[in-house]
Amino acid sequence: MSREQLLATTFVDLADTLVANFDLIDFLHTLTSRSVELLDVDAAGIMLADPNGGLHVMASSAEEARLLELYELQSNEGPCLDCYRSGRPVARDDLTAMSASWPAFTEQLRGVGFHSAQALPMRLREETLGALNLFRAEPGLLSEADLRVGQAMADVATVSLIHERTIAAGELLATQLQTALTSRIQLEQAKGVLAERVGLRMDEAFEVMRSYARGHNRKLTDVAAQIIEGTLVDEILRAK
């Protein structure tokens, strides 16, 4: 796929949260992995805020990015935090300037082999949902062109997330985060439960769960949790 094709696909993917099997973690992973593919960065991570303003590390393209973001939260300093708090892009020209702003963070950053970190807000008008953190092994900032593409991706993702949240009928972001965080493994466990109970193949079990979620305007992760609890299988059977 050419860069243009990947770019186009990425924007479609990031705009598409209206599917019944929307999975927040998957969606955010897409944003981080496409950031690494499309921009001149080596790793990317995303933090989102809960309704109390508490930030959570939601997705990362590499373990180092996840650790650095956990470190930012712990030490209460770093580009992602400044970006979330100001709602504006945050960058420093070089390591000296980074050290001056975030001494502890910059030291950790260098420790894992990165020499540049900057953050783009995930913001729509007055509301900032979180920030996209971009890490480079080489010193220096992203080009203007890359910055525009990165911010556009973050913007589309933000609009999608706000839309998804509205559709979830006032469900708090924190709840979504909580259910989404363990959703991956839980989904596989639920597929197994349903496949065995109803006598389906794994892919069929997934389709049944997805169409039930779509038909009842429910989140796939909640449906999976209920299947594991054993409170939904009969209902799914009847819906078939």
Binding site: I25, H29, H56, V57, S60, S61, A62, E63, R66, L67, L68, L70, Y71, L73, Q74, S75, A104, Q108, G111, V112, L177, Q178, L181, T182, R184, I185, Q186, E188, Q189, A190, K191, G192, V193, L194, A195, E196, R197, M202, A225, I228
Partner: protein
């Protein structure tokens, strides 16, 4: 997720050291002691968790205060382990003095001279295995290498707890968890075949693999392909085979 893969060699190393050492000291105690000596913290504790929260069962603690950290959370129903186990992220509180989280638990630990707490959830999807808690007498963050190390110990602790519960006994079988999708799918299938919960299903799957000298993922693949069906009469899967 992406995070487990690069950590696995370190987890395997931690587990192999634990399996070799021994004598009268339990695996969880050895794990907590190893974690304490590897990290700049004052104490380490591990507790079992259930879907409803702390179970009250403290598996191991390196000292009296580490044990109290676990017990207070069980008694008060609040604290970093409770929060960590409900979510799936570590809860890192480098300065309890400046924190208003957990009003009652926070007051108790501050009185005990604990200044920083780091709680790591031990989960496998919907299965809540337990929590690993690190505390320190002095405030301050865990640096990245320490965080990495703590996460590896958390993975190792998950493996240790499942190992203790699956009845395989032989510490030579102690190794990192197999995170392949079919293991989780097979776990779900076995809940129906045996009429048990997810935790029990995973333990039975593992016990069967050990009893038949196979890997967990190859047994899981047979379950998913419906070449193997669990029932209580089957050798290696029946409940009374477990100690």
């Amino acid at each position: 997720m992406d995070s487990g893969q690069r950590r696995e060699p370190r987890v395997a190393e931690i587990l192999s050291v634990l399996a070799r050492g021994g004598g009268q000291v339990s695996l969880p105690s050895r794990l907590c002691a190893a974690c304490l000596s590897a990290l700049p913290v004052s104490g380490v504790g591990a507790a079992l968790m259930t879907v409803d929260g702390p179970s009250g069962v403290v598996l191991a603690a390196t000292d009296h205060r580490a044990r109290q950290v676990e017990e207070w959370q069980f008694a008060l129903g609040e604290g970093p382990c409770v929060e960590a186990s409900n979510g799936s992220q570590p809860v890192l509180e480098p300065d309890l003095a400046g924190s208003s989280r957990w009003p009652r638990f926070g007051a108790a630990v501050r009185d005990a001279g604990i200044r920083a707490l780091f709680a790591f959830p031990l989960r496998v999807g919907a299965i809540r295995v337990g929590v690993l808690d690190l505390y320190r007498d002095t405030p301050g963050t865990l640096a990245l290498p320490d965080l990495t190390e703590a996460l590896a110990f958390a993975d190792a602790a998950t493996a240790v707890i499942l190992h203790l519960r699956d009845g395989s006994g032989d510490t030579a079988l102690l190794g990192p968890l197999d995170g392949r999708a079919e293991v989780h799918q097979a776990t779900g299938m076995i809940t129906i075949q045996l009429g048990v919960g997810l935790t029990e299903a995973l333990l039975r799957l593992r016990a069967y693999a050990y009893a038949s000298g196979r890997t967990v993922s190859s047994v899981a693949a047979d379950v998913v392909a419906r070449r193997l069906h669990f029932d209580d009469n089957q050798a290696g899967t029946s409940r009374h085979d477990r100690p």
